[in-house]
Symmetry: C2
């Protein structure tokens, strides 16, 4: 059948791809909202909102499954080559990354339900909200960079991940201090620390989306010049006393 | 060209796929060794071995990149349909999961380099080694289940992830206790806790490989009947005094 009526085939490939991209954007919208709501529920100690975030993850998972199925169908039916093939594979990776970010938001909301039962830790939930907001902004731009094939914007997203890493490193030190000052803070700080680490990981997934965009547009993965992330594994802060 | 010389095409598709599978198995071997060595370096406080694990991650990353490229090439050249297409997509997902497990092993080795400078925590590194060993066994079986298309073995791997989760939950409580007993343990326990959490996540990635195998063999993702994982987000252990 190839070469026969090929304009028609190309047009329907484009239409299929657009439909899938629309689902990716829908998924992105849901994930962005989940991240912000998870942070908001923590700051406001709002268990109901946390519960909504947890319940909402199902819709994100289902979208990812649908994107996967439709990509597989597109590959099987249209058998795209070269750039088109690369686009479909990129779409699958982007949706996998978004799904992971959604999982982290759900996990954050779970821990919120636990944390509301504990004494709040000074300033922690505000700092976490700022981190979440930064990641959400990166995600918005990463998805825009995909739609616009905007390599510069994708590069910008990569660089901003460094700021999220710095926010995380600062929080890690702060939590250590709180725990050492008062053992009653330990359980809450462990949960808060997990949340901070999960947001830092969200940033990594968003960065991975930006890198996919760069790969799609340039054919090359960016060199690993990105300033490296979690420094706490090099942390040697010893405790006095 | 379709239907012309199709036997030849099928044969070369099989040959290509076999070459890619050989790389997946090589990758699996490297990742298994990295997980065991990372745990061993922690238990023996062996910085040199930890350094080797960190350096070795590059080879795993390169293999993943090669698998990705060769899968894309296979899709473009051979344009497989139906089951063959699904196999190629599964291979890509398996290699992505293996790469993530390798990352966690590297991260574990990084923290080992920090932990050797601190007072050891009683019994922790032995418990972590047992967790790592359990995950490594699951990984071996998950890859075997892929090669043999053995759904029963893949189901078994999924179920064993529950044991890893239980080991993690027990360690989480133990670390909380150590930190509360003596604030000088806090920094070391934070790192050890991260390591334990990372092994628990390795288990999730291995489980995801097993689920891919089930999907490949049966056409359906397993129902989510798997006993759920990290319970610490429901942890409400309040600290007395």
């Amino acid at each position: 059948m190839p070469n026969q009526d090929s304009k028609h085939i190309v047009a329907s490939y484009d239409r299929d791809l657009e439909a899938i991209q629309a689902q990716i954007m829908k998924m992105g919208g849901l994930v962005e909202a989940a991240v912000l709501d998870a942070a908001k529920s923590l700051e406001r100690r709002d268990e109901e909102l946390a519960e909504q975030v947890r319940a909402g993850d199902k819709a994100i998972d289902e979208l990812e499954e649908r994107v996967n199925e439709e990509c597989a169908r597109l590959l099987a039916l249209r058998q795209p080559a070269a750039t088109d093939l690369r686009t479909v594979l990129t779409v699958m990776k982007i949706s996998a990354n978004l799904e992971r970010v959604g999982d982290y938001a759900k996990n954050m909301a779970k821990r919120t339900s636990v944390l509301v039962q504990m004494q709040p830790i000074d300033g922690a939930s505000g700092a976490i909200r700022r981190m979440a907001k930064a990641v959400e902004g990166m995600m918005k731009d990463a998805l825009d960079s995909y739609i616009q094939r905007d390599v510069e914007l994708a590069q910008d997203v990569r660089m901003r991940d460094h700021e999220v890493d710095q926010m995380y490193n600062a929080l890690f030190r702060q939590f250590l201090t709180f725990m050492m000052e008062d053992p009653r803070n330990i359980t809450a700080c462990m949960h808060l620390h997990f949340i901070a680490k999960n947001i830092e990981r969200m940033g990594d997934h968003v960065t991975s989306i930006a890198e996919q965009v760069i790969y799609l547009a340039t054919g090359e993965m960016p060199e690993d010049t990105r300033p490296k992330s979690d420094l706490t594994s090099f942390e040697t802060t010893e405790v006095e006393g």
